[in-house]
Symmetry: C2
Subunit: 410 residues, 2 copies
């Protein structure tokens, strides 16, 4: 492909022509108008304006007020639009047309890029599930008997998925009764936590009653974002038996503003870890395209790196999750979002939650500013960022970041 047009505002780096993630932005002079943008370096291409300028057959999709029409259009259209973007941004002959449509990133406001249909959260890291089992259920086996046979998941609240930067108000709720009491505790959570995750965004819907096999993963899944599954551990611990997490999670789930197309992550594909239990045919991925992704996450608290979770260590792949999610016939809708579950690697510095990093609060983290954290304090800002290997030697694909600051309980 041609070399990209470097302008004063574009230093591709993590966001070069091999990446081209999609988002939704508005500008200060038209705050009510939401426009589809494509990140290029430190700039945002006004994709709708570009589509009109180049008389794209896909201008209707790119001038929509969110990504949903593009998501619904299906993989052949996703590929055609991506090829057009690479042409518009990469051909020297287009430079004069494109330059005025590239807005500096720091002049725009980013919004939740798509309307979330259903939100599902999985639990796909063996290291995370093992750590959590040991911390919360020390008298039982770390992994439940089903864990190696199916990707465990549950539905979360789609209506509280928010874009990166949205403040996270500390939730109130019930916790376990204190020793000697039979009345539950109540108040702002004292164990506010994060979960560093990767989210997958469904574009193409599926038919009710028809499972989606792993081989159809790329036909249905448009792209990838970063996700912080904020968790109130004291609320969760009291409520979750027998029907699972509810208010301990449903107050907020933050996602990164940029959706990286799957096609940008071909060079990041890796084999998942060796499986030590045989899998049922619908989950077996022997001989299929490698389902893992080599995404390198970093978690920062108030700017200080506290963990580097490696997504390549996830036991269950996104294609397996999609196959499981639909094996009972549940249909997919455009805008469905499913997340990996907390990404934790085998090393202590690779854990994706404070619950694990501080071992249930027992071993607080000391930050370089001299403060320590068992769980999050009001005013703390948590940022999860990630990159993946790109197609040329040493190149990187940026997934951007998802950030949020804790606001005091109302």
């Amino acid at each position: 492909m041609p070399a990209p047009a470097h302008t004063a505002t574009t230093r591709p780096g993590l966001f070069g022509p091999d990446n081209l993630p999609y988002g939704l932005f508005s500008t200060a002079d038209e705050p009510g108008a939401r426009r589809i943008g494509v990140r290029f370096g430190d700039a945002v291409l006004d994709a709708g304006a570009a589509a009109r300028a180049f008389r794209s057959p896909h201008a209707r999709l790119l001038t929509a007020p969110d990504l949903n029409p593009l998501l619904a259009a299906g993989r052949p259209v996703w590929r055609a639009v991506r090829a057009a973007l690479r042409d518009w941004l990469g051909s020297p002959g287009h430079r004069a047309t494109v330059a005025p449509l590239l807005l500096p990133l720091d002049t725009v406001t980013l919004h939740l890029p798509f309307r979330v249909a259903d939100y599902v959260d999985f639990y796909a890291s063996e290291h995370h599930a093992t750590n959590v089992g040991r911390i919360l259920r020390p008298d039982a086996a770390a992994l439940t008997p089903n864990w190696k046979h199916l990707p465990i998941g549950y539905h979360g609240r789609a209506g509280t998925v928010v874009v990166s930067g949205t403040p996270v108000v500390r939730p109130r709720g019930q916790g376990r009764p204190g020793t000697g009491s039979d009345r539950p505790a109540f108040g702002p959570t004292r164990r506010l936590d994060i979960e560093a995750e990767v989210g997958f965004v469904v574009g193409t819907p599926s038919e009710p009653g028809r499972p989606v096999p792993q081989t159809a993963f790329r036909d249905h899944v448009f792209g990838v974002c970063l996700l912080n599954d904020w968790s109130a551990r004291d609320i969760q611990a009291w409520e979750y038996v027998p029907l699972g997490p509810f208010l301990g999670k449903s107050f907020a789930t933050s996602v990164s503003p940029w959706i990286t197309p799957l096609d940008a992550l071909d060079a990041a594909r890796v084999a998942p870890p060796e499986r030590d239990h045989p899998l049922l045919p619908y989950l077996d991925d022997e001989g299929l395209e490698p389902g893992g992704l080599d995404l390198r996450l970093t978690v920062r608290i108030n700017g200080h790196p506290v963990s580097e979770p490696p997504f390549a260590t996830m036991y269950w792949t996104a294609a397996q999750q999609l196959a499981h999610l639909t094996v009972n016939g549940a249909r997919l809708r455009t805008g469905d979002l499913f997340a990996s579950g907390t990404v934790s690697g085998p090393e202590p510095g690779q854990r994706g939650s404070l619950l694990e990093l501080t071992w249930g609060g027992r071993d607080p983290l000391t930050l370089p500013d001299g403060t320590s954290r068992a769980f999050l304090e009001d005013g703390d800002e948590v940022t999860i960022s990630a990159w993946a290997p790109g197609p040329s030697a040493g190149s990187r694909i940026g997934l951007g970041e998802v950030t949020g600051r804790v606001a005091p309980a109302h």
Copy 2:
């Protein structure tokens, strides 16, 4: 209020002028056009056409392609529209205008009347939770320690909420490994069940971070429907520890086509059962409007009544559920649907699931046609209907029915 206009096609009965539930219909000559209808006797009033004929200020809401704009309009508008409908249907002077807008019920097709935002399912019957605990966890206390302190709930799949009449395809999935095996079973569920429930439809959204108190229940909740939370017990039993029900529920949830406004159920309000544990202030309903509803459900299999669950016996009220759902700051959206959980009364003939009616399959039901059922067979049709006391002595408000037939696994 004036007497209703009785025409050849209107025999109010359960659907008289004190009921007036809303639905969405299409006709054979315009199958693609979805119109808001109001049930009146055995007829459906084309509400949009009536609004235009009477130059209603709410014609925009009533000519929408679903109920969401009306739901979002808020309680003062709900009341004004209801008053107008009673006038249009009840004033002899309007008879000539209204008669051609009343379509026989059996000539229209009914559709899912609103776009479901988030779907939450509670677990609010003490009798149900106790039965399930005894059947599934015979070695543990029937109720978990949290049960009397909070209404337990979880998020379900909004994208598989379907309207009454939609066939329910038997789901496939994993079940527990058989004795002596360490490989899960896989195939069409052998324990397909129902759960007879009542659903509450949210109209007015709430602000993120702001709990909705019980006293604001009527400002946010528009009305009531019947709901069948189809359940695959073998799938559910294998998957649900530790994160709750997932594929055992997500294949289908059926709702009745008619949404009965809360205002139609004033005469059905009753005090909930005595609470034997003190409640936190946000759940305490001492001195508030009675939060229970005297809805009499009937469950039929292939036309044979098998149970009569009394909704008045539910331990947790819908207002408490709403307060709990939002106490952590989770916002409400128009179209949010929350369901009561299985309605089971204290008597064996009042249980709302086959799991309970057959005690885990141990005591199959014998139907009058001579066949017996532990769980559902292909071709079985399950219908849940309900009525409530109306405002005048002996009058009844019909909630219609939710029905579905089991189709074989694909």
